[in-house]
């Protein structure tokens, strides 16, 4: 990172490269410690997690059931239109079940991605070192 600019051109108030790296290390350490403190001070998120879990559960169950209903409805209307009594109703009912599983699988994937994101983000980002050396 520090391209050893050397200490020769050091003016008062400027930092040597060693100081810079030292400062950077301290800053990133500070960020880590800050993240730890923040995550400790945050109220335990089990309540939040459970609320979110219930939300997902309701969404999944509704999507699952409604896919069968929608599939069945499509089959029923096609049956009425084509006059092929129960064939398409049954066929689209089964396809609806499959679509329901697809919905649930998608919601699950989304949920898993969110969960892994949440577990990753426990420590805060280190404080950015925005003093570009020139």
């Amino acid at each position: 990172m520090t391209k050893s600019a050397g200490d020769k051109g050091k003016r008062p108030g400027e930092l040597s490269s060693e100081d810079r790296t030292h400062l950077k290390r301290r800053l990133s350490g500070l960020g880590e410690r800050l993240g730890k403190v923040r995550s400790r001070d945050r109220p335990p998120s089990s309540e939040n997690q459970r609320g979110r879990g219930i939300g997902y559960a309701l969404r999944m169950s509704l999507d699952m059931v409604l896919a069968v209903v929608v599939g069945g409805a499509i089959g029923w209307f096609l049956d009425r239109w084509l006059g092929t009594a129960p064939v398409l109703l049954l066929l689209f009912g089964v396809l609806g079940v499959a679509a329901g599983f697809l919905n649930v699988a998608r919601t699950y994937r989304e949920m898993a991605a969110e969960a892994s994101e949440a577990s990753k983000g426990h420590t805060a980002k280190s404080v950015p070192f925005d003093d570009d050396e020139d």
Partner: protein, 256 residues
Amino acid sequence: MASTEHGGEQSGGSMPDPMHQFEIDRIIPINFFGLDASFTNSSKWMLIALLVVAGFLILSMRGRSLVPTRAQSVAELAYEFIANMVRDNVGTEGMKYFPFVFTLFMFILACNMLGMVPYSFTVTSHIIVTFGLAAVVFIGVTVIGFIRHGVGFLKFFVPSGVPAPMLALLVPIELISYLTRPVSLSVRLFANMMAGHTMLKVFGGFVVALGFLGGWAPLAFMVAFTGLEVLVAFLQAYVFAVLTCIYLNDAMHMHH
């Protein structure tokens, strides 16, 4: 079509009918070429919700002060809340649909919250209303998808890396899954609002039926449940907006 379910007879007996609150009354009957387009109590409360939202936003933002007043900061909070939601779920290019999502959220929130006022009417407890809103979202999002990707949007229904014979099975499944969206969007909002309000009325009936001695238990429950209902009213408006954003994102970027 929305206003034909006028219940008419009340079920007799001491218990008040918990479904009475959902009845539609024609205030100004209008017959529009054979269609019943009357101005009903539902229309009245939609109009009130509209006036409340517009009035609140216009009046609170009139000062435009750098240090916001209380009302202005609430309005700014609502704006930031939805703006961040759109940015997180759709990306910055989705911000051109921000006005739509914001309007949708504020309208549903106002309808849900006004429904919590005693003697009011909950517009969102009727499935035809919520389905109308969901259909607007669904059709709009599909149109956006086709405008952005042309015929290529149909690829959305074709899972990649699947042998051709399987597609005959998978495309209808994808199609049904896609068509489930407006239904689940509308049923979720409608069912939550209707179930909550029915529950409140049923327990209100218990309070009256159990009288001065036993009525306190359901009354205490009702107080807690009213709090929960306010939460649900907000949460369902939020969920509706979030799902709109997710569907928008699917249409714009075409990935599941």
